[in-house]
Symmetry: C2
Subunit: 144 residues, 2 copies
């Protein structure tokens, strides 16, 4: 469904959110350990998330990654997915046709649209705060 990069991006963002709620910055090493991902690759993804304003980085000693506390509840999964995988999962044709719409639909256009809309709504209605709270309370997990 999502690329590896996107999976890491989502999990990393949740971990950063958890720590930012407690006023802590985290670095790629901690993040990679916590979400069970390759460190250097994860660092690249973090850079991309910084460029698309999902997370913030602070360079230099005592730096790291963080998210403004008041933004945590505003960041939706859809923003992370779009930043890393683009919007193809929403707008692309399920069978890869270059132009697929009501007027020139692929064989599964209508049926697919329902699923895609469901996915889109889900991603647009899920924010980092909810997910961070669940992890913190032990009702969901970032690895294994």
């Amino acid at each position: 469904m999502f690329s590896k990069a996107c999976e890491y991006g989502i999990k990393a963002s949740i971990f950063i959110a958890i720590n930012s709620r407690e006023g802590k910055r985290v670095n790629p090493k901690e993040i990679a350990e916590e979400i069970d991902s390759p460190k250097a690759f994860t660092a690249k993804i973090l850079q991309a998330l910084v460029r698309s304003n999902v997370i913030k980085s602070v360079q230099g000693a005592y730096g790291g990654f963080e998210i403004d506390k008041e933004k945590i509840s505003k960041i939706k999964l859809s923003q992370i997915v779009e930043a890393i995988d683009g919007d193809n999962i929403y707008s692309g044709c399920g069978l890869g046709l270059a132009s697929c719409d009501e007027y020139h639909p692929c064989p599964v256009h209508d049926k697919f649209k329902i699923v895609r809309t469901e996915l889109k709504d889900m991603l647009e209605n899920t924010n980092l705060e909810q997910l961070a709270i669940d992890i913190k309370s032990g009702s969901s997990f970032l690895k294994i």
Copy 2:
């Protein structure tokens, strides 16, 4: 969502179904032209579909690919997807956790499950005959 191979596999199966309904066999060249895919790569995918009993091949002169007429309405998209992409799209964790279930869920487990079930139902309730008829009647398209 699906791999390129799977997209080609679905479209090829629909085209073969259309022709089999009219008693015609088709070869990779015709198929690739009709679904706008690389010929040799498509041929490999057809082989895989033969091995998993979705389509039938007839070797030698005047051979080609076909689907038994009475099977066309029985073949579901889910069979094609599973034959090519496996069942990860149904059973895999949305965030890539090795073991993700009710007892040890990833952060999006519940939300994801709804979308995945919707997708699964859609694929299990869509058969090749429906799709072939739509193409034939001009209400959907295999390329562009």
